[in-house]
Symmetry: C2
DNA sequence: CCGTATCCTAGAGGATACTG
DNA sequence: CAGTATCCTCTAGGATACGG
């Protein structure tokens, strides 16, 4: 597959594909939830503890969306107190690899980018 | 590198890395601009024509951010009328591969996800 | 031709309180 | 324990108009 063909995956349909995926995973908590669930089933509270800063509301919304998309499965046990466990589905697991690639890119180029920003800002705003 | 270690790239620092990259490329037009520039230098107007739906304002903002991050270089020629050309930098080019992986994932699983959503919605909202 | 300035709106996401 | 409900704020992004 040529570079050109591969790039067409991004802009082929006027960007609809890439935009859909970014709407899905581009929000604040989705990839964090997926990564945290990567190797074990987990309860709501466990997730909240392992994902620093997430509120009940946002965790709930994120899980609901992931469940709707079929990336996460939810199992409720009829117990008292209630117990609910979440885990990645097979499809959900396939998301980890591309997500990690992106994270690798980020780690690898973070310093470059920060330096570039500083140079840019220094040039643009020599005042103050 | 184990799956566990790779996943740590995502949540290792409390998600800061993945969030930074998503703030960078998770917006509406960035990846589209990068993909469009993948193989040739291009003028502002060319970009606008090849990216359906982008406004002057958003294209301008997106290019400015990409320039600041060092992913795109901007060359202005002192002519009348003015001519400005944009192209990917070396760092910018390295973003294409992980972005394409993500797009591949999207294409591959889009149908699955849509079916899952329909089943979910049918279960949740049998009313109306 | 290549932008910036201004104004506006929808929705993402936080804080807090309440419930089966 | 595992969530909803409510309220609020802030900003991404669209529309439009203007300027070098």
């Amino acid at each position: 597959m040529s570079t050109y063909e591969r790039t067409c995956l991004i802009r082929g349909d006027g960007g609809r594909t890439i935009r859909r995926i970014l709407e899905r995973i581009g929000n604040k908590w989705t990839l964090l939830v997926v990564a945290t669930l990567h190797d074990e089933r987990m309860r709501f509270t466990d997730l909240q503890q392992r994902i620093p800063g997430v509120s009940q509301r946002m965790l709930s919304l994120t899980l609901r969306q992931l469940e709707r998309d079929g990336l996460v499965s939810r199992t409720a046990y009829a117990e008292v107190p209630p117990r609910v466990e979440y885990e990645l589905t097979d499809v959900g697991r396939t998301l980890i690899d591309p997500a990690v690639r992106l994270a690798e890119w980020a780690v690898e180029h973070d310093a470059d980018i920060e330096r570039s920003q500083q140079r840019y800002d220094a040039r643009q705003q020599p005042d103050r």
